[in-house]
Amino acid sequence: MARVWIPALLRGMTGGQSEIEVAGQTVGELIDQLEVRYPGIRERLMDGDRLRPNIAVIIDGVRSRQGLRQPVNDTNEVHFVPAISGGCSEAHERSR
């Protein structure tokens, strides 16, 4: 099972847990599993059927480019962090 790090602002939904083992073949499936256990968490990470544009997925220290379709395996460590793509503050523009 992949190890998912729960962002600090979502730990209220996981009873304070910061790292959770989750089953799934892709990032999307991990989020589905999280949603089963912590209803409402999906909406915090996703905007409709895609990841929120200001959130990046980092797997084992490398940013994923395939969003929800990014494959994960049992040894992976998965982080959801603010999307920062070097040099471009446009990356931090937020939808309101």
Binding site: H79, G87, C88, E90, H92
Partner: protein, 766 residues
């Protein structure tokens, strides 16, 4: 040379690591290079912008009739001429842009949100006439209360810039509207417990002012909206493809209607990633009857209305145990986004503790709108202010523990496998190597550099000191596309889409030359328009030499493969049997050069062409460690930089001169930020120093030679080991200078810039 080069291992390259003359060099030293404002089209009109004299006001009415009636005026536009984009967030290559913010920043609709906000524009037959026409436009404003300071803007009773703005906290919107657009938190371990157990704890609050990128070439745009609906744009931009989409969205036309030709660009540093003038010039062109319109900002407009970077308030608390290990770090960061959300505070939160291995961390980051220009990216956005705060506190911790400041940083330095403050694990990084290189540099063991202000050494008011600081930047890979075609004489034409802002034609061509096995001089690079090459992300994020370089490498391999096939055909062998070494193809005693193969290409199957597009996420972050010697005149508050050394893990320096140049340029900007540069507003939000006379960037006289140490820890994610280098060097200088001022005077400066007035104040002299 000023630099030295320390390589962990040195494979032999023929081209990589040499210092050839850049292909666009002659045009740039003879004045032939065409920058954006040099574009000349027949029948071209000149556009000028009317800007708001208020920092916050409702626009009640705009009367343009008198301006329109002026002979020679061909078009006048206001916000009403533009469609109103939805609150759509465009995925724009490297990230996202809120198009509504962008559109409203280009030209105000019902409200102006900062001094200098565009409200109308005119196109006329001469620039002076356009300027005259602006004076005839009558705008009725209803001034609104102004909020300029980040902390004041966060108060619940602060005047609101956007009535519909709610605070986003990882997908959750606040109930009430607020100027706080976003709050992010990173948390790991238990900071409270760790602080309670720490042997020493240092806590301070830091303030920094809004500062500008200060590129010497003002924003410009020349646009022809043709009668057939095709829109041609010439401008200076770091991001031709992203700006093309921004223009398309703002004008509500399909992106395929726009062709953007990037001109030579006179500096950007992040400030030329989004549009200001181009949509206005397009609309003026259309309204003027499909005539080309050129718009060029003056310096006052550049300073008042184009993306500066955030002023900030940063509180840092760090604790260490008796052995000198940092046990906990906490930061509270609030950045001014300017008039629209989007400060680089999240990036700052990523930078602030990045060089160190810290088990317990909490960081809160707030993005806050104020009545100032919309913040753009500026070289390592958010990083310099963040590192100014953390590196000052680290210096203080080291001092309290009685440990040498570089030793302390090395002791706590992050390595492969350690965690970033925000969680993810580092791959191969070179922080320790960079810090050790700084430590081993003669500068660090030399006596303080001699005084310049007081060559006799007799003036007791002159105090000298040395400071060090570290810095980090994420870097970026991004998407690049390019073409290469072999010419019949064995040279290669390289078609790329990454604007060359500091010598990248050379560094990209060098990688193709290395990969294919030809000389650097045999590669002819060209940067072309958006119709002529596939998508390229911006020239930004320290990505081009890495990302476009990757594509150049792959193009070289692809051409080589085709050449092998041609040689195999000539010799009737299989391509796998053909050996290739430095441009010489051989098999079973046959030998043929690239030049000979190229001459035969039409008889062996036709043109030899390769195209490619690629993106790698294995760019790997950059780390730098700087040392500065300076002197403070404690009578006048003036600080003079005496000696400066910047060490950085650069992965692999493709063209070392330009890598040194990146370090030197970043240092110079960082020193300007540290000592002089700031936006000065009056209480009503009028910018008081919108000129290069009053917004003072460093001159040749303010700086010494800047020594560089290029530490080469090859990045395993690139065929030649390249890492981005451009941004990291602006991160450490403010912290290094502050630490040196402390060691000179005994006073800790906690506000940027550390101008003479602030120094005197801190010294208790005023």
């Amino acid at each position: 040379m000023s630099g030295e080069n320390q390589s962990v291992e040195q494979p032999t390259y023929r081209v990589v690591g040499t210092r050839p003359i850049r292909p666009d060099g002659v045009d740039k030293v003879t004045g032939r290079a065409i920058f954006g404002a040099d574009v000349r089209l027949s029948g071209m009109l000149y556009g000028r912008v009317l800007r708001s004299p208020h920092a916050h006001a409702r626009i009640k009415s705009i009367d343009t009739s008198a301006a329109e009636a002026l002979p020679g005026v061909k078009a006048v536009i206001t916000g009403r001429d533009f469609p109103d984009p939805q609150n759509k967030v465009a995925a724009s290559g490297e990230g996202t842009v809120n198009l509504r913010s962008l559109a409203h920043n280009c030209i105000a609709r019902d409200k102006v949100l900062y001094f200098g906000h565009a409200v109308a524009a005119v196109a006329a037959t001469t620039p002076n006439l356009a300027e005259e026409a602006l004076k005839l436009i009558r705008v009725e404003y209803e001034p609104l209360p102004v909020v300029l300071d980040v902390l004041e803007a966060m108060r619940p009773d602060a005047p609101l810039l956007h009535e519909d703005l709610r605070t986003n906290e990882m997908g959750q919107r606040s109930e009430r509207p607020s100027n706080v657009a976003n709050h992010t938190r990173h948390e790991r371990g238990d900071v409270e417990k760790a602080f309670a157990e720490a042997a020493v704890v240092v806590e301070r609050e830091f303030r920094t002012s809004m500062v500008h990128q200060g590129y010497i070439e003002p924003q410009n745009g020349t646009v022809l909206w043709n009668a057939d609906g095709q829109i041609s744009v010439w401008c200076s931009t770091q991001a031709p493809f992203d700006e093309r989409s921004q223009i398309a969205e703002i004008l509500d036309v399909p992106v395929s209607k726009i062709k953007l030709t990037p001109a030579e660009i006179g500096g950007g540093f992040g400030g030329k990633l989004s549009v200001y003038l181009e949509p206005l010039a397009a609309m003026l062109s259309k309204k003027a009857g499909h005539k080309p319109v050129q718009m060029v900002m003056n310096r006052a407009e550049v300073l008042a209305a184009t993306g500066p970077t955030s002023g900030s308030c940063i509180r840092v608390k760090m604790g260490a145990d008796r052995n000198g290990c940092i046990v906990a770090a906490q930061a509270w960061m609030a950045y001014e986004a300017g008039a629209f959300p989007g400060s680089p505070v999240d990036a700052g939160a990523g930078v602030i503790f990045a060089p160190y291995r810290i088990p317990n961390v909490r960081i809160d980051a707030y993005d806050v709108v104020v009545n100032k220009p919309r913040a753009g990216a500026y070289r390592a956005p958010g990083g310099t202010n963040a590192a100014f705060a953390s590196e000052s506190v680290i210096d203080e911790l080291a001092e309290q523990l009685g440990i040498d400041p570089l030793e302390f940083r090395i002791l706590n330095g992050a390595k492969e496998g350690d965690r970033r403050a925000d969680g993810p694990v580092y791959r191969r990084i070179g922080f320790i190597e960079a810090a050790q290189a700084a430590q081993a540099h003669p500068h660090y063991s030399a006596p303080l550099a001699p005084s310049r202000l007081d060559p006799t050494g007799k003036n007791p008011a002159i105090k000298r000191g040395r400071g060090v600081a570290a810095g980090f930047w994420f870097n970026w890979g991004g998407k690049s596309s390019a073409w290469a075609s072999l010419n019949p004489d064995g040279t290669v034409s390289l078609i790329e889409g990454s604007p060359d802002i500091g010598g990248s034609r050379a560094s990209i061509a060098m990688q193709l030359a290395e990969s294919l096995g030809v000389r650097f001089e045999d590669v002819k690079p060209a940067v072309v328009d958006t119709d002529s090459v596939g998508y390229n992300d911006a020239t930004g994020g320290s990505r081009v030499t890495f990302g476009t370089g990757w594509v150049a490498y792959r193009l070289g391999q692809k051409l080589k493969q085709q050449l092998k096939e041609r040689a195999a055909l000539l010799w009737d062998v299989s391509p796998e049997q053909v050996q290739v070494e430095a441009g010489m193809f051989s098999c079973n005693g046959h030998r043929i050069t690239i030049q000979e193969l190229a001459a035969k290409m039409h008889e062996t199957g036709g043109p030899i062409v390769a195209g490619d597009t690629f993106e790698s996420e294995e760019y790997g972050p950059g780390f730098g460690v700087h040392i500065v010697d300076l002197e403070v005149d404690t009578e006048t508050g003036k600080v003079q930089i005496l000696r400066y050394t910047a060490a950085q893990d650069v992965g692999r320096a493709i063209h070392p001169s330009y890598v040194e140049g990146q370090l030197q340029g970043g240092v110079a900007q960082g020193i300007g930020w540290a000592l002089n540069e700031e936006y000065v507003y009056d209480a009503d939000g009028h910018l008081l120093n919108a000129s290069f006379l009053d917004y003072r960037i460093p001159t040749a006289l303010d700086l010494p030679m800047i020594d560089t140490v290029l530490v080469e820890v090859p990045n395993p994610g690139h065929p030649y080991g390249v890492r981005g280098v451009g941004e990291t060097p602006i991160v450490p200088p403010a912290g290094a200078v502050a630490n040196a001022i402390y060691h000179a005077t005994g006073v800790r400066m906690t506000t940027l810039p550390m101008s003479p007035a602030r120094i005197l104040e801190a010294l208790g002299k005023v």
